[in-house]
Symmetry: C2
Subunit: 300 residues, 2 copies
């Protein structure tokens, strides 16, 4: 008999929330996208985005599925922050079950199809984890500007700092400073201050698009910027992959660039992502659901 | 005949506004302190603080002085930002005249009693200028985190970044990471993220007090942190003092530490501040007032 249960995987970040719904046989029946779902930044909005994404995915399936038939795995930005996770856990949600994990953990589980493996994500932010013997070990992340070394935001900030040093006559002006001045539409340090006063991580990270062409033509300051980032990524990979035989998935917009800088022994262990973060979150929900079932059956 | 004019010097920053009022013979007749006066952050509050400080200084003088007898020099944080300065300039203030300059420029003029000279300020923030032949040349500043290298906020941020790298196993834990963990009351990276999420420049700079004892017992990571800051200060001093014979005033809470790290040829040119930033602002107001008078007399 086919179960009346459905499994949902959520990948929620600062701008989007993606949902994937499968039936109990693991057949994909719907996918959707809604708004922001970062529970650290705005927990109310995140919950709304999650419900909306699931309802849209159900609508896509064209099946009559009730909330209480859904076992949800929610991989959400901010879930690594204890306070935010605790508050989220108090939600009287309408679903059968809700299993929270971080967006990083969902991406890692997705990349390795639920098998043991490590992941380094470098996009607007940066973070890393290794899923091994049922335990996640996280490295980095921590947000901007105290952490997220090697991320797009970090690169953008470093490029702006370089430009200000050049405009102050403390470093030689070069293609990088010229490019940043052009991107910010000014030649003046005080104007850069005014523009950057309203910058968040996304604004700083957006500068990377302008900087990348300079990397390809080997401008010194840009090469050393990316080398500093790559050195950090390498040290993270070394810690992640020590004492295990896990593969490493490099994920995010900067992953290709940083992968090229990794030493050959680490590159030999890198693999492509097998599936998406929402599939990772769905796997997590399924595992937790059946763990719960079997522990109940065995009277644990 | 004694003039009915009075000159006021204002030193306004993010937390306090100091006023000094002198009669036309340069005799101090009143001083006072009021609230924040950073025109970049809150222009309305800054104006209120300025009026309050001047009225309090007048009250101290026990003389009957009207607003329109006061020629004011206002050395204000944020005055280096063109937009903020322009908006401030639109103020229909009740005083005879109002001459705006930055807090940095006021400090520099004060330090050298209005004579040519350079100043490097290192406290919560960092900035530098040289007043030479009637022109200010600024270096650095720019605010946190894009600028203010070597400042207290910069040192505090670097210390937190170091601590997170240690907790991630990417650096060896040491006295610095232990001290920061103790100051933030946690051993956990995620808790540090939560605590620092609400940090502003003052919170980061406040960590310096805890870090300083580690500098005095030469803890490697702390020594290299201050050396990096000192290297920046040295490069700023080199640019400020090139092609002139100006003296250099090192001002602010971190000035003594950084002064010790300067090479002997720069140390030989350092001097103590002769007077306060509000005296510098007052000097500025006086100069501008008499420049205006003489240009009117000569029909310029």
């Amino acid at each position: 008999m086919k179960s009346d249960l459905f499994f949902v995987g959520i990948d929620g970040g600062g701008t989007k929330c993606r949902a994937r719904i499968e039936d109990s046989d693991g057949i994909l029946i719907g996918e959707s996208i809604s708004g922001p779902a970062n529970i650290m930044r705005d927990s109310v909005l995140a919950k709304r985005s999650i419900v909306e994404a699931i309802e849209k995915a159900i609508a896509v399936s064209e099946l009559s599925i009730h909330h209480e038939q859904c076992v949800v795995g929610a991989g959400l930005a901010g879930a690594n922050i204890a306070q935010a996770a605790e508050k989220f856990g108090e939600w009287s949600h309408p679903f059968r079950q809700m299993h929270l994990l971080s967006d990083l953990h969902a991406a890692c589980l997705g990349a390795h199809n639920g098998q043991d493996g490590a992941a380094i994500i470098t996009g607007t932010g940066s973070s890393a984890t290794c899923w091994n013997n049922g335990v996640f070990t996280d490295i980095g992340g921590h947000g901007f500007p105290i952490g997220d070394v090697a991320s797009g935001a970090w690169l953008g900030l470093k490029a702006v700092q370089h430009t200000l040093l050049c405009l102050d006559g403390l470093r030689k002006e070069d293609e990088l400073s010229a490019t940043i001045c052009e991107a910010l539409n000014t030649q003046n340090a005080n104007d850069i201050v005014s523009v950057c006063a309203t910058f968040n991580t996304h604004h700083f990270a957006a500068l990377v698009e302008q900087i990348l062409p300079l990397l390809y033509i080997s401008i010194d300051s840009v090469v050393s910027l990316f080398k500093e980032g790559a050195k950090y990524i390498e040290s993270v990979a070394n810690v992640l992959l020590a004492n295990n035989d896990c593969s490493l998935a490099m994920i995010g917009g900067l992953s290709t660039i940083y992968s090229q800088h990794l030493p050959s022994e680490i590159r030999a262990r890198t693999v492509s992502s097998k599936s998406s973060p929402q599939q990772g979150a769905l796997f997590f929900a399924k595992t937790r659901f059946f763990d719960f079932q079997s522990s109940n059956l065995t009277g644990e």
